[in-house]
């Protein structure tokens, strides 16, 4: 009991626990905020400023600060097709990745038993090779004299008689390259499902298909949302796949940005394109998250 008095005194001198805890929170947040500020917020502002610059008269490739909002109109009118193509290609690739990844993740999470970790290593193993290298490999796989193209041709399935340098190749490359980003979140949410819930579905007269539709699928939605976002967002902005596997007719917005930055040195248009892309993705993502109502799902 004698110890109680000094404790009370020192307690009243120090800030109340709740306040102390929130201060610890801020301290822990600091590195992250500093990082975001230096490497995200400041470049973002710079990028925005660049997108409004005006050309210096008589000096091509040189720009000075300005407020030329028409840069956006120029950029969009010129690169509208690439922009739409990006969203379409990324959308198809995401849908394909989901269709391929879901059964795979389901198998690994529910049926693989002791093989789980081995199979997960296999899923991420391709990522140990460079992105560029893997995409080059697809050039060989889809080559005009390769077995895939010749098989598809013998079945008369290809309108252009080739795969490489078409949109099909670009979508295939995107699907392949971002597949692990779909599998891993799906696996994470599927492996969290209590197998007894699936048994309970069967016990309550749901056939395996109904149990999947009413129990497994809804409970895996957080993984579906995370996986589709992690696939769709980088796929939309990607330019390597379109550059290596597609023709100029298959270029995406990433290629347009890259060409304007590196080749044409038209920094304002490149920046404007980047900004529109970012805004479009943000709007899409937010409406998607709202619609799928992830916070509703436990």
């Amino acid at each position: 009991m004698a110890h109680a008095i000094p404790t009370v005194v020192s307690g009243s001198a120090a800030p109340p626990p709740a306040q102390r805890r929130s201060r610890t929170g801020y301290i822990l947040l600091f590195p992250g905020i500093a990082w975001l500020l230096v490497f995200f917020a400041i470049p973002l502002v710079t990028l925005f400023a660049t997108s409004l610059q005006v050309p210096v008269p008589g000096k091509p490739g040189y720009f000075e600060p300005g407020l030329q909002f028409s840069n956006y109109a120029t950029a969009m009118s010129e690169y509208w097709p690439q922009f739409v193509r990006s969203l379409v290609y990324a959308g198809i690739a995401t849908a394909l990745a989901l269709v391929i990844a879901y059964p795979l993740a389901y198998f690994i999470a529910m049926k693989a038993g002791a093989w789980r970790s081995f199979l997960l290593v296999l899923v991420v193993a391709p990522m140990f090779a460079s992105f560029l290298l893997r995409t080059y490999a697809w050039k060989t796989i889809l080559a005009d004299d390769g077995w895939i193209t010749s098989t598809l041709n013998s079945l008369h399935l290809l309108p252009d008689h080739r795969v490489l340098n078409t949109g099909i190749a670009v979508v295939a490359g995107l699907t392949y390259n971002f597949l692990p980003f779909m599998i891993l979140p799906l696996y994470a949410s599927l492996s969290k499902i209590d197998p007894r819930l699936i048994e309970a579905g069967g016990d309550l007269y749901a056939s395996p298909i109904w149990t999947f539709a009413k129990v497994t699928w809804p409970l895996s939605l957080p993984g579906v949302v995370a996986g589709t976002l992690l696939t769709f967002i980088p796929a939309t902005g990607d330019y390597i796949n379109a550059q290596l596997l597609g023709s100029t007719k298959d270029h995406m917005i990433g290629n347009a940005i890259q060409i304007n930055f590196i080749q044409f040195r038209d920094y304002p248009v490149a920046s404007a394109l980047s900004f529109v892309l970012m805004a479009a993705i943000l709007i899409l993502v937010f409406s998607y998250i709202r619609k799928s109502g992830t916070e509703e799902i436990v």
């Binding site: 016990d203 749901a206 436990v298």
Partner: protein, 390 residues
């Protein structure tokens, strides 16, 4: 809820066996569970209770044997087509659905359209109607348990399987839910198969108790019958407590006489299950009378008796528990009702324990007398008796 017209059938398990690799979790189980009865499956952890239930529900394929409901062989029927529902050990409520939808799940899957009325009246039965729109995570353990019962029961299964549904609840809520479950069972008349390792729960709730040990049923019957006349040392020790003495039969006719440590015990022939001379003579603690040795002459001549010294007395309100050390260093336990004031024996007193032969039972002497006592409990009594000696 009218249930009178709801016809239910007996559940038959025949030579049901389940092996996981080498070990038999359930070993050649044959039993019939009467329609509409409250059947308790009682046994220590790992004895195969859950495996038995899972086979009845169709969640586990038997290695051999068959399961019939009435004349219908359901052994190979998938779970969603069996007239059986389960209340899972951890409830397994669907976290993404509210209480109403959890309870409606089975009816919807069977394609029934008008679920509103039945679901609400079922929720009323378990007194949860006001919480219909809550998610399971927003309910207390006891409420979740009632949802799990409602979700299973609404389907009017022939058999309701309950896998230790009260295991996670505290003692008070547990007693309350025991009464509740019993009430619901009486009201709907469905066959309940209730798994538990709480012997008191099994005895108070069930019409029939089966004591299970290592995948086999050791004894099955009305709780009082099993308690009064256990057939094996495991049952004697697992269901309540028992004083067991290893003895040798010296004469057997209508009355069996056995001897051990210079004492003679008699018991009716029909209460003896020893096949050979070796016998375990047993008696329940509450059947013993404790007398100070000065009053030894009051013991009826026909009664069995044992002398010893009191090593522990614990007063528990309605009764007093005595631990009495016999000359051959065995501890006898006796429960005495506290009906006389100021006449209790004390630690160190020399006493005579006596009981009627009709309360005595004889078990096959080849088994382990300590079967059914957990290792910790054995350790505890050993520690307590060595303390009591000082």
């Amino acid at each position: 809820m009218s249930t009178a017209e709801h016809r239910v059938d007996d559940l038959h398990l025949r030579h049901l066996t389940k092996r996981f690799g080498e070990t038999a979790a359930v070993d050649d189980l044959t039993l019939t569970i009467a329609a509409g009865s409250f059947f308790a499956l009682l046994g220590a952890s790992g004895c195969g209770k859950t495996t038995t239930l899972r086979m009845i529900a169709g969640l586990e394929d038997p290695t051999s044997g068959s399961i019939h409901i009435g004349d219908l062989d359901v052994t190979n029927v998938p779970p969603h087509k069996r007239p059986v529902n389960t209340v899972f050990q951890s409830y397994a409520l669907f976290p993404h659905l509210d209480i109403f939808e959890n309870v409606a799940f089975g009816m919807r899957r069977r394609g029934l359209k008008d679920v509103n009325g039945p679901v609400m009246s079922m929720l009323e039965l378990v007194e949860l109607a006001p919480l219909a729109r809550r998610k399971p995570a927003q309910l207390s353990g006891g409420q979740q348990q009632r949802v799990a019962v409602a979700r299973a029961l609404i389907n009017r299964p022939d058999v309701l399987l309950l896998d230790e549904p009260l295991g996670a609840l505290d003692l008070k809520l547990r007693r309350q839910m025991q009464i509740e479950l019993k009430r619901i069972q009486t009201e709907v008349g469905t066959t309940f198969v209730h798994v538990t390792h709480d012997q008191e729960e099994a005895m108070t709730m069930a019409d029939t108790v089966a004591v299970m040990n290592s995948g086999r049923i050791e004894q099955l019957g009305h709780p009082a019958d099993i308690y009064e006349l256990p057939r094996t040392a495991f049952v004697a020790n697992f269901l309540g407590q028992a004083n067991l003495v290893e003895a040798e039969i010296v004469s057997a006719s209508a009355e069996v006489v056995a001897q051990a440590h210079g004492n003679t015990f008699t018991l009716p022939g029909d209460r003896n299950f020893a096949k050979h001379k070796q016998v375990i003579v047993g008696v329940r603690p509450e059947k013993l009378t404790v007398l100070d040795h000065f009053n030894a002459h009051l013991v009826p001549d026909s009664n069995n008796r044992v002398t010893g010294r009191v090593t522990d007395v614990s007063y528990a309100g309605v009764s007093t528990q005595y631990v009495v050390r016999t000359p051959w260093e065995q501890d006898f336990i006796a429960f005495e009702q506290n009906m006389v004031v100021g006449d209790r024996c004390e630690v160190g007193d020399e006493v005579v324990l006596h009981w009627s032969p009709s309360h005595t039972f004889g078990l096959d002497g080849t088994q382990d007398v300590n079967a059914g006592i957990s290792a910790e409990a054995l350790e505890e009594t050993r520690a307590a008796s060595s303390l009591g000696g000082e």
